[in-house]
Structure formats: C-alpha cells, structure tokens
C-alpha cells in the first residue's frame, strides 16, 4: 500500500497527489512513469511522474479525471492508500546539456513537463515554457514551472489569459517567427496538441520530443498494448519510450489506438457515476 501524504486540487478535475513510495522516489528520472492501481478490481494505469522527493521518499503524480479509474483516484484523500504504485518505468527523457529548450505543456501535461524543465535548468540549459488550456482556470502549475523557466508563455482558447489561441500559435508567433534560436522542443499533453506541435516544428526541422500516453496493462514490456509506430517501426511505449521523436511518430495510429476501448470506458464510467450518485 502506498499512502497519499498530500493532495492538492489544481482544478475541479485535476488533482495532485504526493505519494509515499520511497524506492520509486530514489530512482525516478524526468520522463519516467509509474503504474497505479486504485482498487482490487481496478485497472492498471500509467501516470507520468511530476516530481520526486528522495529525502521524504515521495513521488508526485497529477491525475485528470476523465474516466472511472482517474475519477476514483481523484476522489482519494490525504492519508488514504493507493493499492499499487510500481515504477519507475520507461526511459528517462534524453536531455540536452546546453542551448535553449522550449517545453510545452497542454492541460495536465504541464505536470510531467515540470521535472524535465527542472533538470534542464540544473544542467545550465535555457528553458522557455509554454502552457495552454481551454480557459485560465484550467491552467495548472504555472508558478512551479516558472521556477525553472526564464519565461512562461500562456495560451488559452478563450483568451482569458495570455494569447488567445493554441500553444502552437504562441510557439510560432512569439518564438519561431521572432527568430529565437531553439535547440529542442519537448511537448507533453493531449495527443492532438502534441501532434499540432509536431506539425508546427516540422517545416523548421526543429527537433521535437513528445511523451506518448497509450493504453497499457503491465507497463514493463510484457503485453504490447502500448505499441506505436515510430519511423515505420513498431515500438513499445512502455520500454522504448514513452518519449519519442515527434516527427517520426504515427499520430493517426496513436490516436486510433487510444480510443480502442472508448465504448467500454463509457460503460464503466456511467456505472461508476451512477454508483457515486447513490
């Protein structure tokens, strides 16, 4: 059992948990993930590590409530336990040692961006952040990201904060078009956002990394549920990734595979909502 030592409500549907998991805390590197199970009958779901505190022996994860498992997780409180918390899994993010990296976080994707930005800063890399959300109330962890970034640019769909538009608009208009020298872009967020970033940087041949978040079962290379096509080859996101060269990822396939159980997920979520409402 893995105790929740701290909970923070970031938005009505986005929760941050600091979890007691000493062994994982000691090992996890930026870019890696853990597999979590909430109940005995529950699914195993992958969640990217948002921070670690090896001294306290804790690992921070952020979850956005989109279905049954994430909602069950989101309702847990400080002092309660997670049934399983295994990791760290996947390869650490490949990080540059110098130059200028733009990190892009969409929605709750800002969470996994945090440790990457922090590690880059500590290596002496100049980091610029771009965060985006539908509206300003859904922007999360902006102050935390600012600690590692020279500047954090904001995009909201409704223009309630920063540029009205998408993170790609900011990336293009405020950085690329201004002639700012960028050595690498790392984008984490919804698949549509990561794909849009990939397409925005492709014409400039600007090296771009994304962190794929496919359906997984074991997370250790055993089942192949997470397979994706990168540069025409099948890769397992859990052991070969989750971070890949954005210009080489088959996003059509990734999006399609991500929806494989959409119908079943709806059934489970509806049943859950009915149970909770009782």
């Amino acid at each position: 059992m893995f105790k929740i030592v701290k909970k923070r409500i970031l938005t009505p549907v986005t929760k941050l948990f600091e979890v007691d998991a000493a062994l994982v805390a000691k090992k996890a590197q930026p870019g890696q993930f853990v597999v979590v199970r909430v109940t005995e009958k529950g699914e195993r779901i992958p969640l990217t590590v948002a921070a670690t505190d090896p001294g306290r022996g804790t690992v921070t994860i952020v979850v956005q409530e989109v279905g049954k498992t994430s909602s069950m997780l989101g309702r847990l409180e400080e002092g309660q336990d997670l049934l399983d918390f295994a990791g760290p899994l996947g390869k650490p993010a490949p990080l540059l040692d110098s130059g200028h990296v733009v990190v892009v976080g969409g929605g709750f994707g800002v969470a996994p961006i945090l440790p990457i930005a922090k590690a880059l800063k500590s290596r002496g890399v100049k980091v610029t952040g771009i965060v985006g959300a539908r509206t300003k109330d859904l922007l999360i962890l902006r102050d935390e990201l600012a600690e590692s970034c020279g500047e954090v640019l904001v995009a909201t769909d409704d223009g309630s904060l920063g540029t009205k538009g998408l993170v790609t608009d900011v990336l293009k208009k405020e950085l690329i078009d201004q002639g700012v020298k960028i050595d690498q872009v790392i984008a984490i967020g919804p698949m549509v956002m990561m794909r849009a970033v990939a397409e925005a940087t492709r014409p400039y041949n600007l090296k771009t990394l994304v962190s794929l978040d496919p359906i997984m079962v074991d997370g250790t290379g055993m089942c192949g549920a997470c397979r994706c096509t990168v540069e025409g080859k099948t890769r397992f996101a859990c052991v070969d990734g989750p971070i890949f060269d954005a210009h080489k990822v088959d996003f059509d396939e990734a999006v399609r595979r991500g929806k494989m159980y959409a119908a079943e997920q709806r059934v489970a979520f509806d049943r859950y909502k009915a149970e909770v409402a009782k």
Binding site: D218, M222, C228
Partner: protein, 468 residues
C-alpha cells in the same frame, strides 16, 4: 490379465464449459482416486520418477494413496514439489512420468497427474500444516532474493525457505504467480489454487514484495547491498513476438500475453464488474498452435465469440500444444486452419481489424527446430474474416534485467547464459532458471530449474560460510 483402463476424470460438458471460465476438469471423486491408485504396479525401480523434472517420489506417494492415506501421499509429494496442486493440473505428464509408466507399454499409463491433483486438493481442503524450519536449520539468518514469482521463483523460494533461509521474492506485477496467474486461464488453473500455494510459501516464512521491478525500482547490485547473499532470477519470458506484417497495429490485434493478461490477471471476462476491458470479438483468429494459442482461442469462446479459430502455418503433427489441450479445443468447437499463414491484416474505415490475407503453405525440408519447414504456395492467397486477432507465436526474455545488471550475459536471442546443472549465471552469486534461460517452455521445467538453482545456492552459501 488384461490391464484395466485408467479411471477417467469427470469434466464439464463441452457445450456448457465453452461459455464459462470455471475449471474444465472437475477432479477425481474419492472412489475414482482409490481405483486409479490401485492400478499402480509399484515397480521396483519406479521408472516414472526418472521422468519428473522435480523428482517427485511417485511410487511412494501412490503407495500411500492405495491405502487411502491421502495426507501421507500429499506429504510425500510435497517433499520435492512446492506446487503440487498446480503441477497436477498443468504438467504435460504424458511426456514425462506417465510416458515411462510400465502400464503404458501394454495399455494406458497410471494417471499420476490426476492422483497428484487429488492428493493436493484434499490436503488444501483439510488445511495444510506448515512446519517452519527450526533454529538449527542450515540457512538461518541468511538472506536470499528471488526475482519473479512464477513457477521457477516459487520453487526456488520454497526449497530455500525449507532450509531456513530468509527468502524474499520481488515481483513486478501486483499479484504473485507469474505466468500461473497472468497466463494460464482460470478454466485450466483456478487462481485460488495459485493463491493457496503462494500462501503456503508465506507460512513457511517467504516474504513476497509485489510492485518491485528489479532493474528499475531496485537493481541487482542494490539487492546485494540490502544484505542478500544470493539472487535467483526467475523472470520468465515476457516479451511477446509479433509477425512484423502490414496492419499488425490495427485495433483489435493482441499479443497472446495481452489477451491472456487482460483475461486472467485483470479478469476482463468479468467486465464491467472488474474495470479492465477486452474486445469480446465475434470472429476471433488465433495465430500459432502452442499451449498459449489453445488458451487464447478457448478464452475467446468463453468471451462469447461465435467463431474462434486457429491459424497455423504447419500441420497438426508439428503443433506444440499438449494433446489434451488440442482435444479440449476441438470438443469446444475451435476450428483449425493448418498450412495457413497470415501475410497482411486488413482494417475497416475506423482502423479495426476486419480480416487477414493468408497464404497457403506446404511442408518442405526440416528446419533448425527439426520440424518440416513451411513453404508458401504461390498464388494461393485469400482473405479470412475476423474482428479480433491474437498473435500467439511465443515470447522471449525481457531485456530489462540483462541491460541493467553488469556482468550478466545473454545469448543472442536474449536467454540468460547459465551453467546447466546449477543455474549459475555469468555474474557471481546470481543464478537463473526457467523461461528466462530457455525461452518459453513448461511450468514443470521452470520448477526443475528453480530446484537445481536452490540446491546450488544452498551448497555455495554453506561453502562460503565454511571459508569465512
């Protein structure tokens, strides 16, 4: 005097069982078990025992069974076999002990596996008394780590715990049992049986730590730093093989590992009571013809498929599945398409698999495996419709451990290099056995390897103590 035929074991009727996940074989009743035990000739040299990879004292356990003393029979089995209720169900006895049975020369061999199962089930029903080793046991106060809680690891753990060692099993998944729990379906091996066997090991003092991925959460070097004097790697062969043909990543195409893990470990057959879903296909194609393929195709029927079929590029003769599994599959209505090989998967407009293009094959000269090599017949392609595909072409060892453990050498295909008789790897005080060494094989071979390694670990640690 003519030899009596062996006592048959009651099973669920095929028509009923193909729609439920309950165990197919129901086990002997007491009168069946007594009648079967009575057939044993009690041969002086007990040839059957030479066929058992863990050296069960078959002659003596059946001797006790003949008198109806099932407790004594169980104790005898348990002296050498840590998991008898498992072995009685999933061992390929026909190729091992029963193959060497004298009765089999003139008629049907003694049903050793069924008796082992009966003795174990009775013992578990009665409640097994576990004797913890006393303070004088040779392994007292010394720690051994086991990586992986599958058959190899559980066996090694049991043997070492009996000698008094403090044994910790590190398991990457959330439940113990390895392939016994994620791979072999409930209808062949109820998970409650596996849990009971693991519980008996815990009562013997074995500690199981789930959610620890050796190589990631903790490295082998760190395990030694934690005070463990030896490490046994029973990490299995977890990496699924795919065909590498077009369309393989369409929705609805699974590795057998995923299909079975969702079904067994995650209990997808009880969705939405359990949260993990699986595609309950109507027309399910399983590629391959080993035991895992049989488990997959029979699971597909139980998930409600109208049609579940096997596609295999060789013939019935070259199949690696146990005869009994093949027969059960046929009884349940599984269709077999031999000399047929997929070359391409076809998807519908939403990206779901809707069929596969296959090619007819013929058998040519034997290949490296000694089996006839399948050769494609030109212009023989056609399309088979299906909405779910399970690729069951075998697995290879997961490279996670070898890539994170300095000094640990593997063969080109990933199998750990070990000394055959001891399981010693190329790294000091690290031993290995089971599928991690051999590639996918059987439960009992893995158990045999776990046993050998436990013996070697014990000898080496005692030797080291003497020197110190």
């Amino acid at each position: 005097m003519p030899i009596k035929p062996r006592t048959s074991m009651p099973t669920q009727e095929a028509e009923a069982r193909k729609r439920n996940f309950n165990e197919v074989a129901l086990g002997y009743r007491e009168e069946d078990a007594i009648a079967e035990a009575a057939r044993c000739l009690q041969c002086k040299d007990a040839p059957c025992q030479k066929g058992c990879p863990v050296g069960v004292q078959i002659k003596d356990f059946i001797k006790a069974a003949k008198t109806g003393d099932w407790a004594a029979a169980y104790d005898k089995i348990k002296e050498t076999n840590s998991l008898p209720a498992v072995c009685g169900r999933v061992c390929p006895q026909e190729e091992q002990c029963e193959k060497l049975c004298l009765l089999g020369k003139k008629g049907q061999p003694e049903a050793i596996g069924r008796l082992e199962r009966y003795a174990s089930d009775m013992a578990m029903k009665r409640g097994v008394n576990v004797q913890k080793p006393g303070d004088g046991a040779p392994g007292k106060g010394r720690k051994v780590a086991i990586v992986g809680s599958g058959p190899a690891g559980l066996t090694a753990a049991g043997d070492l715990a009996k000698l008094g060692y403090s044994v910790t099993i590190f398991e990457a998944l959330h439940a113990s049992g390895g392939v016994l729990i994620y791979g072999i379906p409930e209808f062949r091996l109820p998970k409650a049986i596996v849990a009971e066997e693991v519980d008996l090991l815990k009562k013997l003092g074995v500690e199981v730590r789930t959610d620890v991925i050796i190589g990631r959460t903790v490295t082998v070097d760190e395990v030694f730093a934690m005070g463990y004097e030896a490490v046994f790697l029973g990490t299995g062969a977890g990496l699924p093989k795919f065909m590498g043909i077009p369309g393989e990543n369409l929705n609805g195409i699974y590795s057998a590992n995923e299909y079975l893990t969702r079904t067994n470990l995650m209990k997808a057959y009880r969705f939405p009571d359990y949260d993990t879903p699986i595609k309950m296909g109507k027309k399910v194609a399983v590629i391959g013809a080993g035991n895992v393929a049989m488990d997959s195709v029979r699971s597909a029927l139980r998930h409600g498929a109208d049609e579940a079929f096997v596609v295999y590029r060789r013939t019935e003769k070259e199949m690696t599945a146990r005869a009994e599994e093949f027969e059960h599959a046929i009884e349940e209505g599984v269709k077999f398409h031999f000399l047929t090989n997929p070359v391409k998967f076809l998807g519908d407009e939403t990206g779901w698999v809707k069929g596969m293009e296959v090619q007819k094959m013929e058998l040519g000269e034997p290949d490296a495996s000694g089996r006839a090599r399948p050769v494609p017949i030109p212009n023989s392609n056609y399309v088979m419709e299906c909405d779910t595909v399970v690729v069951a072409l075998g697995t290879s060892p997961n490279p996670l451990l070898s890539s994170t453990t300095p000094g640990l050498k593997t063969k080109e295909w990933g199998g750990l290099i070990v000394e055959e008789e001891t399981g010693k790897t190329t790294r000091d005080a690290v031993y290995a056995g089971g599928d991690a060494v051999t590639g996918s094989a059987t439960v009992i071979l893995a158990m045999g390897a776990g046993k050998k390694a436990a013996k070697a670990i014990h000898e080496d640690l005692q030797e080291r103590a003497k020197k110190a």
